[in-house]
Amino acid sequence: MDRRQFLKMSAVAAGGTAAFSIPRLARADSTRILRFVPYADIAIVDPVWTTAYTTRTHALLVFDTLFGLDDNLTAQPQMVEGFTVENDGKLWTLTLRSGLLFHDGSKVLARDCVASIKRWGVRDAFGQALMAATDEITAKDDRTIVFRLKKPFPMLPDALARPSAMVAAMMPERLAMTDPFKQITEVVGSGPFRYLTEERVAGARHVYARHEGYAPRGSGAASFTAGPKVTYFDRVEFQVIPDAATAVAALQTGSVDWVEAPMIDLLPTLRKSKDITVEIKDHNGMVAQLAMNHTQAPFNNPAIRRIILKAVNQVDCMTAVAGSEKDLWSANFGFYSATSPMRSGEGLAAIAGPKNTDALKKELAAAGYKGERVVMLAAQDVPRISAVCEVVAEMFRNLGINLDFVASDWGTVIQRRTNRRSVDEGGWSCFVTYWSGLDMATPATNSALRANGEKASPGWPSSPALESLRERWLDAKTLEEQKKVAGEIQLQAVQDVPFVPAGQYFQPTAYRRNLTGMLNGFALFTNLKKA
């Protein structure tokens, strides 16, 4: 090979690289484009396959729901025009609005909704409760969905409305027939925006275009996921920016319009800018919790769990997460989020009382703690988790607990926490996780409160009393009755300690001042305009 041949080959090789390129973005009027930085990538686009909250944000753009939830967390008809309840609450008939269209142009039919509800009902905790109470769901005609129930289920609209980790998203029957444990192969909904799969760069970019055929509700006021969903953007572009400082800089320079979850340390910088608004829109926040393994020593001993419940200092945990700005967090609440209508003062003394380390040490010894190794799975790659882990670990050490602090990434924690064996065989004792305050708001969606043993989430608490009270709550007909049962659940939870609440923080969002009409709640893209 001579010099000329070599140069020729190099030129061919360099030209070949032009064949590889990311999909190009379509161009449009910048006031009709919203550039949004989500807190993490939407790794999965099927709202029923995962509980990731970014997938929920995506789901509410693309898919519509039969009912929506307003700011007061009350279910309101959304795709449903109206409904009737007969036969002592055991026959529900839902009528769809006319003119609802999927993104592929086909009409939304009752049978699409029936298949969608059934798929969601297999995976979602509230959905499972609804399905357990349901004898049959049928499509009476193209616009009528009929629920025949085994027993009254007054929370039916709430179940279908609640934008929990898994949204009751309506999709065409052909997609909804997919095994709930497999991901759907296409993203076709009837929501206000279409998902542009061809512009997706997994891990970096997701693009949505306005659904021209979307017909918003004609009446009511836009409120959270309820009311008319009016779109003012032709395109919504999700730009995944993994570095928190870069995301903030992008907002400052105007290359993006909205950063969903700016790093709390950088808020003072953002607040100084006259072009940027920083505010808390999601008043339900995120709730930290210490999950304990109820099947292994020492946390298989309820007396020891009760001492840990007393010892965890929610103020310290939240200060570590969100700093000293007290508007950003809430502490000393019970087993529901601090902002939940179900929040209760029952048994709260056990949680919010003074933290006397010497007294707690004595109680721990009296409860039968014999120095067993406590393996704490501490995810270091999620700052809000690692902060709480550090505080709780220090508390364990102060109490004289034989702590094995296993620092790892979240992926390892998630895998290891499924191990039910002893700590000597790769098992675990506790880990820290978070749920959205919305999910923690009621016994129906608060999965951490489930105490159905093997079927419960990792930690596998078992308490027939708690499960029975949850059933009573689901059967409650009025808000007052629900609150009363919720209080009883909390009293029972203080005894069984299915998990330890570690505080709630409210992540502010930051956006350019020329955005107006932003709704309360997590990131929603309807009603929003850009000047």
Binding site: M1, F6, T17, A18, F20, S21, I22, P23, R24, L25, D41, A43, I44, V45, T50, T51, A52, R123, D124, A165, M166, D179, F181, K182, T185, R200, V201, A202, G203, A204, R205, Q239, V240, I241, P242, D243, A245, T246, A247, A249, A250, T253, S255, S408, W410, G411, T412, I414, Q415, R416, R417, T418, R420, T433, W435, S447, A448, E454, K455, S457
Partner: protein
Amino acid sequence: MLIYLLKRLLTTVPVMLLVGLFVFSLLFVVPGDPAAMIAGDQASIADIARIRASLGLDRPFPVQFWNWLWRLAHGDLGQSIFSDQPVTMLIGQRVGPTLSLMGMTMLVSVGLAVPMGVIAAWKAGSLIDRFLMALAVLGFSLPVFVVGYMLAYVFALNLDWLPVQGYVPMDDGLWPWLSRLILPSASLGCVYVALIARITRATMLEVLTQDYVRTARAKGLGSASILMIHALKNASVPIVTVIGLGIALLIGGTVVTESVFAIPGLGRLTIDAILHRDYPVIQGVVLLCSGTYVLINLLIDLCYNLLDPRIRY
């Protein structure tokens, strides 16, 4: 030469097979379960097992390895567990930004470092030499992300000369493409400028003491012609080796830079795949990187022949 090239290419096959086996085995040993990540906090162990089965992750190691190898032989790297998109497509989307970043970085690095090294050697022991080598030490010592943040703060946030993040393909215009690569390349290039400059200086110092350089001086040739035509060409073999190794090292170096400047390249794809335990993507990217490494080494060897006619294959 052609036979040598074919032989070298053939030796890459067993290397790649070994890499494949190693990567595949490693993923079975390291902790992590994509099914558990997908299922989330609500899921029971039975739910996770069903998802694992639906993904085929419950099959024995030899079965999974054979299936992967068979697909690989057909040019199929499989589907991402999470996005359900073909791994070849995901890699194809990311190659452009990473190649652009690497190309620009090497261009800037070589363009700055070689003259720096030559001048430092020419003026060895002088203030200029010391200043240039102090710059090189600084380049080595500053972490990429620190340089990145500093450059972004000055040139993007304060002066508003360049974009702070993102990437656009060259099809969208030369300046939009270039403007988004300047800051990342500058921050990533610091280490390579330092490395190449120091190697160039050391090699040039050795060459400048050779008899033929003295002869050239005695003949009355000017400094520029001695340095650039006689000395640099003879010093180029180690410099090219370091540049080649630098390109290979860049594959790893892009990870941090791509994260800081939000460039959707292979580095970010790899990190995301590792954090999610997206096995097919990890396997695909590692294979690609190994293949690239092998090819770069081959190219370096071929370059030796061009630079030094005494080397024959």
